[in-house]
Amino acid sequence: MAGRGRGKTGSLTQEQLQTLGCIGKDIPQVQTAPPPTFPPLMSKPVKLETTAAQNYQILWREAYLNHMRDSPYFLAPKIPNANSTLQSYSDQWATAVENAKTKTKADFIWQMMPTELHITQKKRRVAGGDKIVSKKPRNIDDRLKVLEEKERNEDEKDITKASSDSEHEEEEEAPADEEMDDENDYGNSYFDNGESYNEEDDNLDDGPVY
């Protein structure tokens, strides 16, 4: 029994309607369809007054909206309409007109806003990347000379290194191995002068390997 008849429903029950005086024809029919979008008005609405103050407000509002639309604070997405596959001439003209409108630069006081909102336009720079090395040498001859000198110096260094290496072979053995492991698995000691090319294979007897 608890709670019976207590729940609130959207409309009144038959019994309740009868108590309210709805008998027979008076009982409204059950509405199954949604009400019309523009139902007929029972009485005509009162005509609105037009005052000077209202006119001022209407004009000011229009001017305000136009001002805001042309301001840099009006942010509309710059996505072209995906539905329109055909672009008419008028569309192009309209976008050209929109682009031609020179909007003043937005003036934000970033100190008064959280720092996370301030996205700077600066690109990230790699440490020490300030020096820009031009890829193309200005004078090829000079560049070649420099490279030759560099090569010569390296050769000299290699010779002196070789002599010193033989002296300190035992000491440097371990670091050399490490270097090898670090870089790649390429066998630097391997040398092929091409003489063995087209020679008979010693392992022919073994037969083909599948």
């Binding site: 309740q16 509002r61 942010l75 509309a76 959280p114 909102l117 996205i119």
Partner: protein, 522 residues
């Protein structure tokens, strides 16, 4: 906050700040507050777009931020929902300033609404540079200071400078809100000459914006004075204006129910000083008694000291005004008979169907129909009183009484108003986009004709230019313009209704109902 209000806010933001800001504002409307990553995730916009949209909303004081509780380095943004609605009232604010301070004051207000809160020096510089009103800097400065002293402009909390923090903090003491700024005219002249930078101004960092609550106070007074004027005449309206002025001397403008008491002698002194209405000065006692005795009950006598002590009863005043407003709405929608039924239900508090028919002196069938219409549209409610006993044989007997729940009905009508306002804005946007080409064409023609007139071109040539707009086009344009004007007027009228209902909700007492816990204790 209802879905109607959310839709309205959304369309207002879109109209003023564009679609991107609308998406961000919608996202913030749904929650109390949100962090930037949460907004990014919900809106699916790029970080740059969201940041820019938030920056715009913060600039125009529509969003506030506080450090997140769990992570003090992360900001939580929340939308000022009431402030968005105020955008619709901007024309009203400017118009009020225009009537009080003229074109110079309106230019200052306009600049603050266009560019958001700014420093006084900045506002003056911009007004001088861009405004159509060519006035001296002194006039602008004096107007600005008067507006501050009259509380139409309010100072924003100042940034606490010192350590660089990820989330800036602001602070202001209550006494500083209306402290006039230091405006140096010599410095302004130097800035104009390009010798100084605005950022070095003496008032740099002190930002001002329009004080909306002061405007609302004026709107509220205008509603009350207008009602008195319509009912009891112009002199009584003037008398009530001075009563309100006297009330503000000792009462907080936003005191909820009743004002602090004031005496007739005080009002007399004030009117003698400021009014030129001899009739009012001569018969002041009678005018005050007339207002106090009127069923509108705007003022109430509370004592006999100083020729009679009175209070302004804001609670009762807005209850009466709202009731009258309901009466008008019902008359417009269902006719005068329905309005009579509504008034009877309000007077009798609880009334049965049959008794209602007799009291209203309306044929039974018509009375039934009208009362059911009112019930269907939630202007009135039904209270069921079940008779004890009845046994298990038949249905339990019950009485069905019609009654009026003002707060509930006001909330319902307020939502209807929000919806109507949303529809009006959407409709006018639709009309504008449908006839965009025609409107732009006529605007271009107007500007061409204006420049031609300035140049002193012949009337024949001007007519020839005007003929480029064909008669059918002209006819369509006229229709569209009148439709847009009607919609704009409807917006203003709707806003005045919304204002009245909001004032009612603010000033009236919330009916106290005993909770089950309290009932048990009793």
């Amino acid at each position: 906050m209802s879905i109607e209000y959310a839709n309205l806010c959304s369309v207002v933001v879109k109209q003023v700040f564009g679609e991107t800001v609308q998406i961000v504002a919608d996202c913030l409307f749904c929650a109390v507050s949100r962090t930037l990553p949460a907004i990014l995730k919900t809106t699916k916009l790029s970080r740059k777009e969201v940041s820019l949209a938030l920056a715009v909303l913060i600039k125009y004081q529509l969003v506030v931020f506080i450090p997140c509780e769990s992570n003090p380095f992360l900001a939580e943004y929340s939308l000022k929902r009431e402030e968005i609605f105020n955008i619709l009232r901007y024309p009203g604010y400017v118009q009020l300033i225009h009537t009080k301070y003229g074109a110079v004051g309106a230019a200052i207000a306009e600049e603050l609404l266009h560019g958001g809160p700014q420093t006084a020096t900045n506002v003056l510089l911009k007004c001088i540079a861009s405004s159509e009103v060519k006035e001296k800097v002194d006039t602008y400065r004096d107007n600005f200071l008067t507006m501050v002293s009259d509380n139409y402009l309010i100072r924003l909390p100042q940034l606490i400078t010192g350590e660089e923090e990820t989330i800036p903090k602001f602070q202001i003491d209550a006494y500083q809100y209306f402290v006039p700024p230091d405006i140096n005219l010599h410095f302004i002249a130097q800035v104009q000459a390009g010798k100084e930078n605005v950022e070095k101004a003496a008032d740099a960092g002190i930002f001002w914006q329009l004080n909306f609550s002061r405007f609302h106070q004026d709107f509220r007074d205008a509603v009350m004075i207008g009602a008195i004027e319509k009912k009891l005449g112009a002199s009584t309206g003037e008398c009530f204006k001075y009563i309100l002025k006297q009330m503000y001397e000792r009462t907080d403008p936003w005191q909820k129910e009743c004002s602090n008491p004031f005496t007739l002698a005080e009002i007399k002194q004030l009117i003698e000083k400021k009014s030129n209405n001899l009739d009012l000065i001569k018969h002041l006692d009678q005018y005050v008694t007339l207002i106090a005795d009127d069923p509108l009950c705007f003022i109430r006598k509370v004592g006999d000291m100083g020729g009679g002590q009175y209070v302004v009863d804001l609670n009762r005043a807005f209850e009466e005004l709202t009731l009258a407003w309901f009466g008008h709405v019902i008359t417009e929608r269902y006719g005068s008979k329905a309005s009579r039924i509504f008034r009877i239900i309000y007077m009798k508090k609880f009334i049965e169907q049959e008794e209602l028919q007799k009291e209203a002196m309306i044929p039974a069938r018509e009375a039934k129909l009208l009362s059911y219409y009112l019930f269907q549209d939630q202007f009135i409610q039904i209270k069921t009183i079940r008779k004890a006993g009845g046994g298990g044989t038949g249905p339990a007997k019950a009485f069905f009484l019609f009654h009026f729940k003002p707060r509930q009905s006001v909330r319902m009508v307020l939502n209807v108003c929000y919806k109507a306002l949303y529809n009006t804005i959407e409709r006018s946007n639709f009309e504008k986009s449908e006839h965009k080409r025609l409107i732009e064409k006529s605007q271009k023609l107007d500007s061409i004709v204006a420049t031609m007139k300035e140049r002193g071109e012949s009337a024949e040539y001007i007519d020839e230019i005007l003929e480029t707009l064909t008669p059918p086009e002209r006819e369509i344009l006229e229709k569209v313009k009148s439709r847009l004007k009607t919609l704009s007027k409807a917006e203003i009228t709707l806003d005045s209704s919304i204002f009245l209902l909001q004032m009612y909700l603010f000033h009236t007492k919330v009916p106290t109902t005993l909770s089950n816990k309290d009932k048990k204790l009793m």
